[in-house]
């Protein structure tokens, strides 16, 4: 442990209202801590800059998964264990359920929250490509009230977000409109479990009359933020999947990602695997294989 506990202050006001009031008093002074699975890693390494932490773990207002007729509302404090076990998530949003199932190990899944994954804003985070594909909306809350923003664009750069200093992420909303689609996801880590994605794909699509009708593709770990592949989608939409299209999709993928060499992989590798993953998805889509 490279941090001194005496240098830190942790408060747990216990209600959403109390937490928001505290945040409003001095925006930026207090850092929310939910499951702590990202923050405590920094703390252990002596790298947690924030000294004042306010616990939002188990705030009732952030918990639970609410199923409404046209959407599902996931509390930001929802853990991976809760997500992966929820029947509606598993059935209608399998990309998210799968991502939750391969985030860390059991202990981490009991503690880590979807809100933490979103606000931590790692380009390698497992649930974020799924949220891009499902075109999630976020509900942000402060003493000033609630606002709803599309998840796409929430990350403004590497590890930065639109969240204001006095705001919390309250919930993630997913429209229930994808049950007809093929959902496809794959994580490429350095090992079969307990790995950070070197590249990951989440995608969905539908083919009608031999042509791609619906297609959404997102990748992790290939840019400063989780990336939706709009160019690639444009390149395939309305077309029939053949060798020529696969090649075009690969080209589009390579042109719109910005992978880097880092401690976990190389840009060359990430680039090749990204286009392989996109091709694999499109092949499945054309074969109509279910998830």
């Amino acid at each position: 442990m490279r941090s001194n506990p005496r240098d830190y202050q942790l408060v747990a006001p216990g209600t959403l209202h109390a937490v928001l009031s505290l945040l409003a008093e001095a925006p930026g002074k207090w850092l929310p801590i939910a499951g702590g699975t990202d923050l405590m890693v920094l703390y252990g390494a002596g790298k947690l800059a924030a000294r004042n932490l306010v616990s939002i773990w188990s705030l009732p207002e952030l918990r639970g998964i609410e199923v409404l007729p046209d959407q599902v509302r996931i509390g930001a404090g929802c853990t991976y264990a809760e997500l992966r076990e929820h029947p509606v998530i598993a059935r209608e949003f399998p990309l998210l359920a799968r991502a939750a199932s391969w985030t860390g190990g059991t202990a981490n899944q009991n503690r880590g929250t979807i809100g933490g994954n979103i606000v931590n804003a790692s380009p390698a985070a497992d649930s974020l490509p799924a949220l891009l594909v499902y075109e999630a909306e976020l509900i942000l809350v402060s003493v000033r009230g609630e606002r709803r923003v599309p998840y796409l664009g929430f990350h403004t750069g590497y590890k930065t977000t639109q969240l204001a200093g006095d705001e919390l992420l309250r919930a993630v909303c997913l429209a229930r409109q994808f049950s007809e689609c093929l959902h496809h996801t794959r994580k490429v880590g350095a090992r079969s479990a307990q790995a950070i994605a070197k590249v990951a794909i989440a995608a969905l699509g539908g083919v009608a009359g031999g042509r791609v009708q619906e297609v959404r593709i997102a990748l992790a770990s290939v840019a400063p933020v989780p990336l939706r592949l709009f160019e690639t989608e444009r390149a395939v939409k309305g077309k029939s999947i053949d060798k020529c299209l696969l090649a075009a999709a690969r080209r589009a993928t390579v042109s719109e990602i910005r992978p880097i060499d880092d401690i976990r992989s190389t840009a060359r590798y990430r680039s090749a695997v990204s286009s392989n993953l996109v091709e694999e998805f499109l092949r499945r889509l054309s074969a109509g294989a279910p998830i």
Binding site: V188, A195, V273
Partner: protein, 753 residues
């Protein structure tokens, strides 16, 4: 007495219950009254001189005790083989993470900040970071030629071999550094008082190595240095030499503070600063006859020793002796070198040089097969050592080992032929390519050559006042089963129950020097000494009339009680004596290198996914001949664990170096395989029996890490039809192999296979 009732049975581990229930006390569980905590300030550059050290104003330095090289009472070195490694750097820095200063404080949380508040200004010099740079000798960083040690092993007439050769096969093979990744990080507590001298308790393998190092460092006589091993959570060689450094640091702080001082490394520090497996490069040039017989060859085996000598000469020696594999070489010249680089010293790790040179040998056998157009199986069969033939050191094989039979059995167990055929068919289409690979190998048990004679290990067995028998050894338990196996041996020898025997704590005040717990020597060498010392107890009890010719365990316990009550303590000692007919020339590395070899054939089946370039091991057969298996569960555990660790070495564990410094010293970025990455490992034993060891046991601990890397690399090469001559083979490496191969094929216009 009922014979063979304990040896060969999987009795419960002596320390198992304490570990499972959490009662076992590891070093960080122990708190002494008034104890302080220590931390180490380390270099951030690979090479240079210290210009200035500044203590930041934000820290209340009066609350800390600070130790520098000037505070060392004795010699500033970690005494082991050479005395070139300082305990604390004084002026010169020779590698990153080199210890410079020590800090102690009453509050362990107050240390990290203080370490960060010390800034050190350097005058940097150019660093030597690779074997090639070291060889070039543009910068001399050690001795006169950057070479810690050279061995040349020469057998037969190589020149005539070249002349007779139908093929000359060349290859270069490399292995990377590997971290031991024991579960428990390193740690020590030291305590000093002028009367008793220094005492250290710690997580360690070799109490007498630490003892020797502390005598030199603190300038104290043997009786005023006491080293106690506490429960140790894994070691794998990683706690063979480095604990002497940490013990030295804790001791210096204890001497200056006059308090007990504890130093515990966290994972980041442990991975960045302590020793790892030596990276290696092996070049083979082999003369082969038309029908695939090895006629002779040269093997250049080079290892990266890091900045100081530490154990490199010994690792080099073992690697060189294993470089020819389990094959008959009519002639060979092995040139082995350990070179200096400005990286933290590489050290002991399970296998000790043999996994490196055997990787090269077994990859090279597949290359020979490919070049002469024979199967890898046939090429191995043609060249296997047979009883009566001699190894590369001209040691005659006296055991009735039949490697062809071993290979046949392994082929059958792994369904080699049918898999080979079905893989060829399946690989014609699709993104999954499957392959199967073989490695045949041997591992010498015990110290090399005259090593055991120099060690002159001593073992004691004691009859206690309560009737129990205690084994007195400095051989340590660190998860591999030392206590259990040695208790089995003593109990079996004396016809007692397993519970009648225990092993004394490894405390240099209590136990004799039975040698370090390394080199797969404990059961074979120390176990034999336990037998004879135990017999000494029985003899004394009979001589004194307390024990009859035949006895029950209860009668034996009564005899012990009576003897001790009447005459006082009863201890029997036994010292190692080399068998008389053993010849070994250390300079030429010729003669009887090992008292016994364990033999093995491992076969791996893999799949490579061409979408992600990842390799997974689908099946692993590990068949070995290790003499008598004393404890089937422990033995199988050693093999399974060794293979898993070998899978790590082959496919996952890559140290990323930058300027001599490990960049990925965290378990999130240094990837060890999880249970999902390890296939069912199918373990099989052949038992031939061996005259040397206790009840015919040979060494077993290191053998299993020799085979996985070549078997897996051969399997991957089989799957891809491309050579895989370096481990680890990460997905990125597979991708590079495939893409460079395509590029080369394009240029030369030849079709890729």
């Amino acid at each position: 007495m009922n014979n063979s009732s304990i040896v060969g049975i999987s009795v419960p581990r002596k320390e198992g219950q304490d570990k499972v229930t959490g009662r076992a006390q590891y070093i960080d569980d122990i708190v002494l009254p008034g104890m302080w905590y220590g931390a180490t300030v380390r270099s951030t550059i690979p090479r240079g001189r210290i210009k200035q050290i500044t203590f930041g104003a934000e820290v209340a330095w009066d609350d800390y005790v600070i130790v520098s090289a000037k505070d060392i009472p004795g010699k500033n070195c970690i005494a082991l083989i050479a005395e070139d490694q300082p305990c604390l750097a004084e002026n010169c820095i020779n590698h990153p993470e080199e210890p410079i200063l020590l800090l102690a404080h009453a509050d362990r949380h107050a240390l990290a900040k203080a370490v960060n508040a010390i800034s050190i200004e350097y005058d940097p010099s150019p660093a030597v970071l690779t074997l090639e740079e070291s060889e070039r000798c543009c910068d001399i960083i050690w001795g006169s030629d950057n070479t810690f040690k050279t061995y040349v092993i020469q057998k037969g007439d190589i020149d005539s071999a070249w002349a007779k050769a139908a093929y000359i096969v060349e290859g270069e093979y490399r292995t990377g550094a590997q971290e031991q990744l024991y579960i428990e990080n390193n740690g020590m507590i030291a305590w000093f008082d002028p009367e008793h001298g220094i005492t250290v308790w710690g997580s360690l393998q070799c109490p007498y190595y630490v003892h020797k190092a502390l005598m030199t460092l603190c300038q104290l006589p043997a009786e005023r240095v006491r080293v106690v091993q506490v429960e140790t959570g894994g070691a794998f060689g990683g706690k063979e030499d480095y604990p002497s450094m940490i013990a030295g640091h804790a001791a210096l702080l204890a001497i200056k503070t006059r308090k007990a001082v504890k130093i515990i490394y966290d994972r980041l520090e442990d991975m960045a600063a302590t020793s790892k497996r030596h990276p290696s490069r092996t070049r083979h040039r082999t003369a082969v006859s038309k029908d695939g017989k090895i006629l002779g060859g040269t093997i250049d085996f080079t290892i990266d020793g890091g900045a100081y000598t530490t154990l490199s000469p010994v690792v080099l020696s073992r690697g060189a002796i294993h470089a020819g594999g389990p094959y008959y070489w009519p002639s060979v010249r092995i040139t082995a070198k350990a070179l200096a680089t400005n990286a933290p010293p590489h050290g002991a790790f399970r296998g000790f040089g043999a996994p490196q040179s055997l990787f090269a040998m077994e990859r090279h056998m597949d290359r020979i097969a490919q070049i002469i157009g024979a199967s890898p199986i046939v090429v191995r069969q043609r060249n296997f050592l047979k009883p009566g033939q001699t190894t590369i050191t001209e040691q005659a094989v006296r055991e009735p080992i039949d490697l062809e039979k071993l290979l046949d059995r392994a082929l059958e167990l792994s369904s080699y032929q049918s898999r080979k055929e079905s893989f060829a068919e399946e690989n014609e289409s699709g993104e999954i390519k499957k392959g199967i690979g073989v490695a045949a190998f041997l591992h010498g048990a015990g110290f090399t050559g005259s090593g055991e004679r120099y060690l002159g290990s001593v073992v004691g067995v004691e009859a206690c006042a309560d009737g129990a028998v205690r084994v007195l050894v400095s051989s340590t338990e660190f998860g591999q089963g030392t206590k259990t196996a040695l208790s089995q041996v003593a109990a079996e020898t004396l016809g007692l129950g397993y519970e009648d025997v225990d092993v004394a704590p490894a405390d240099t005040m209590e136990v004799p020097n039975s040698g370090p717990t390394v080199a797969s020597r404990t059961v074979m060498v120390v176990g034999s000494l336990v037998c004879s010392a135990a017999l000494g107890i029985r003899h004394a009890l009979r001589q004194s009339g307390w024990l009859g010719d035949s006895y029950s365990p209860e009668e034996f316990r009564a005899a012990c009680r009576n003897y001790v009550a009447a005459h006082g303590a009863l201890r029997s000692w036994s010292r190692y004596e080399a068998p008389p007919d053993i010849f070994w020339d250390d300079e030429k590395h010729r003669g009887e290198a090992y008292a016994a070899f364990a033999w093995a054939v491992y076969i791996a089946s893999v799949r490579v996914d061409l979408t992600t370039y990842t390799v997974s091991v689908d099946d692993f057969v590990a068949l070995q001949e290790v003499g008598r298996v004393l404890h089937p569960v422990l033995a199988a555990g050693q093999i399974t664990g060794g293979v898993a660790q070998g899978i790590g070495l082959s496919l996952y564990e890559k140290v990323i170096w930058q300027n001599g410094r490990m960049q990925n010293s965290q378990m999130t970025n240094y990837i060890m395989p999880t249970s999902l990455d390890v296939p069912p490992i199918r373990v099989f034993f052949e038992e031939l029996g061996n005259v040397h060891g206790a009840f015919g046991a040979k060494g077993i601990g290191e053998l299993p890490i020799d085979g996985p890397a070549p078997a897996i690399a051969n399997a991957v090469a089989d799957a891809l039809g491309a050579p895989c001559d370096c481990v680890p083979l990460l997905a990125e490496d597979i991708f590079d192999i495939l893409t460079t191969r395509v590029a080369t094929a394009d240029r030369s216009g030849s079709p890729s296979r």
